[in-house]
Each structure stands twice: as C-alpha cells, then as structure tokens.
Subunit: 227 residues, 2 copies
DNA sequence: GATGGGCCGATTGTCAACAATCATAACACG
DNA sequence: CGTGTTATGATTGTTGACAATCGGCCCATC
C-alpha cells in the first residue's frame, strides 16, 4: 500500500477551540479590546470553562489575547506601533520563507504561487474585495507553507490572524485591486525565476506598502495616551 | 514624577508555571520525549491540575510540548530536521533584529552587545563552558531585545529554549572557546559600525556553524525511521 | 508459540461547585 | 464638592471528584 495512510492525530479539544477563537478574531466577531466572558463563551461552544480556559491560554501565548489577573482576557488592541511590529515580524518570516522556497524548488513553488495570483486577478476583475483579501492571505500562507518549516509556519499563522484582524477592523482597501494583484504576481514570478534578490526586494516593498496603507486608515486605537 | 512608574502587571498563574516549565526544559530537567505527569507535576508545583494544564497548553502552542489526546503531553524530541528548522527560524528572527538594531541605534546597541562579548571572553579564559553558554544565550536574547519588537522577542524566546535544550541534550561544544567568543564579538562590532551587510553575513555564518556543530554531535533522536 | 480477548491500574478529559477578587454604585462624612 | 467607606453583583481562579480512555498483563484458544 502506498503511504496514503497518514498517522491519525486526534486533535485535542483546546486546540479545536483555539482555532475557532482565532477565526472569530480574524473575522472581527471578537472585536479588538473586547472581553471574553468565560461562562457565556463556554455555553456558546458547548464545553465547560475548563477546556475554554486552556484554549484562551494558547491565544494568550500567541499574543492574540491579553490576560489581566482577576479581571479576564481581552482581544488585543492594535496600535500603530503594533501594526509596524506585525509587518516587521511578517517580513522576517516571509523573507526567510521565500529564500527557502527558492532554495528548495523555485520553479514548482513559483508555479503554485502564480496559480493563486490568477485567482487574485479574477477577484480583482469581479471587484470582489473579500475574495481578494482571501486570496491575498492564501498567497502569503502558501509562501510560508512551501518553505516546509514548522516553526516559520506556526509563527506566521499567528501573524496572519492579526493581519486579518487589522484588515477587518480598519477596512483597509488598496487604491486599485489590480495593483494589489500585480504586486503578488511579481513576487511569485521572481520566485519562479529563482531570483532571490528581486523576490526579497519586492517582499520588503510589499510589506512597507501594507504598513503605509494601514497607517493612513482611520485609527481605532491610539498609539499613545493623551497628555 | 518621572515615568519610573511601570504599570503594575500581576502575572497570571499559568504564565508563572509556564516559565518554570520552559526553564526545566531548557536545562534538561525535563528530558526530550519525557511525559509530563499532571498529578505528580502539580504536586511538585503546589498547584492543582487546572492551572498546570493551562500552562502546558501554552508550551504546546509554542511547540515545546506535544500533546497526544488521552495519552498526555511530552517534551518534544528534536530530530536533525528540527535542528535545521530551529536555526532557520532563528536566522530569520535575528537577521531582522540586527537590521532593526542598526536602524534604531547601531552605536548604542553595538556597545551593549560588546559588553556581553567581554563577559564571554572572560568565561573563555576561565574555561567555564557553562558561563560561556549562558552569555551566548544572553547575547542573542539581547540582540533581539534591542530591536524592541514584542513579536520577534516572543518568537525568539521560544526558539532559545529549544536551543538551550539542544545544547544541553547534545552536550555540544565549540572546538575552541575563543572562536565562539570571537564570532559574537565580530557580529557586535559590525552592528556597532552600522555595517548591516557584514552583520547579516556574519549572523548567517554563525547559524550555519551552529547547525554543523549540532549535527556532528551524537544523535539522540533519529531523523527518519529505518526502512 | 503466536494470536486474540478481556480485565485492571493509571492517567487524562471534563465538569460543577466553591473561594477570591474586582468594578460599580450608593452613601456618609469632612 | 470631593473623599473615603461599604455593600453588592458579577466574573475569574482554583479545587476535587467523576467519567472516559489507554497501555499492559494475563490467559484461553488454535
């Protein structure tokens, strides 16, 4: 028999709950700054407070939630500094991933990434901003997945939840859908061509652009308290 | 009054337990592959199983523990692939950190790092391998801390626990203590001089060296199962 | 001697109850 | 009017108990 038999891994309950919470945060169902009521949430999820608390500890470790003793856990509020830091970390991870992809199998990796950009262009044509965001996230997730690095993937997963949260909360929009699609296409093409320097340069520029866009959006959380 | 008043942050119990567990893993008190018995551990720590389990979920999220449903949580076993991946991730984080330090305040950052290398040289003179390892870890932790990036710091913290664990488990030793100290000194000097390219190059080389050293050490966990 | 079934101890998963803490608001006091 | 005090309701933190699951062992069977 072929090795189609993948070892059965029973996901643990807190891990499942944690995924739900991440999704909810990314989609803004749990708004930045909002407190997570244990009793209420556990009822909604159909579990008791124990497993829920364990799941919340996971997200707290990731930095998606902040815990204040005897008061509760809250969804993080993203300040300007946080946005900058998010993309600093994303750049660190994705640049390393891109370099690794080129090193492993540039041609194949590039092709897979170009496939995603095709769908981005379709979404741009349809003027479907949501689909565009979906494929955008998918592009970056695939880029890191192709690097086959468990650690980079884990880090990146957290960062993408934060990114999604920001996009949702700030309702960021590109000036043009096509510009957005093209930026990703160029990165994919550079990777396919094995041009590490170019891919690296494009990625950095892409991140800088994203920060600039998010910063000019109306702030929902101030970066410093008033004097 | 000056801003010497830091906001009071009551650390949560699972966070405290998690730190203890990380220390224990880094120092090899909890050996790779070992199962963590909840009842026994909670007794030792003087808490009940609830908070302990929450702490374990944190480390599981970090990838320091692996959880198998209905069986328990175990300290990760580090394969050759894991060692490579660890240093791939560390390179990603530390290269970004170095670049950021140079961007923020190269002179000051370089000086602080050089201070650490002084202590490394002293440890090398004393032929004190443990002190050398301590200062080694301190150097890299400081490098990332100086970048003032919460996200890079959080990621790096996890990676350094893994690194420590490997050094302890594999009893890795440099060929020469002085070589080890010098490598760090060069990196610090490059940062102080604001030479980004040089610092980046040295960091990559430093990581490659580390992987090579760890790989030639006797393996305690095989990377692939026998045919 | 190898295989399969069934019991048993140990450990984990889950839950509900209790204790501790905090924010709020009402109120007395200077 | 501002300050300090005290009840109160709600929420979190912690614990112990119970249910579920698993690995190991013994033993009957072929």
């Amino acid at each position: 028999m072929a090795q189609l038999l993948t070892p059965v891994v029973q996901e643990t309950t807190p891990a499942l709950i944690a995924r739900q919470l991440r999704r909810a945060i990314g989609q803004g169902e749990l708004a930045p700054g909002e407190q997570l009521n244990e009793a209420e949430l556990s009822r909604h999820l159909g579990v008791s407070r124990g497993p829920l608390r364990e799941a919340m500890q996971r997200l707290t470790q990731e930095g998606l939630l902040v815990s204040i003793r005897n008061r509760g856990v809250f969804v993080i509020e993203v300040t300007d500094d946080d946005v900058r830091d998010m993309y600093l970390a994303r750049a660190a991870v994705e640049r390393a991933a891109a370099a690794r992809v080129i090193q492993l199998d540039a041609k194949d990796g590039g092709k897979q990434l170009l496939e995603v950009t095709k769908r981005m262009r379709k979404a741009a044509n349809d003027d479907d901003a949501d689909a565009l965001t979906e494929t955008d996230v998918e592009f970056h997730a695939l880029l890191v997945a192709l690097a086959k690095s468990p650690r980079l993937s884990r880090m990146h997963n957290t960062l993408m939840v934060e990114t999604r949260m920001c996009i949702t909360a700030l309702e960021t929009r590109y000036a043009s859908h096509f510009v957005r699609a093209d930026e990703h296409h160029e990165i994919a093409a550079a990777i396919r061509d094995g041009n590490a320097e170019e891919a690296d340069r494009l990625l950095v520029a892409h991140m800088d652009d994203a920060v600039a866009r998010l910063m000019e959006a109306p702030e929902e959380a101030s970066t410093a308290e008033p004097a």
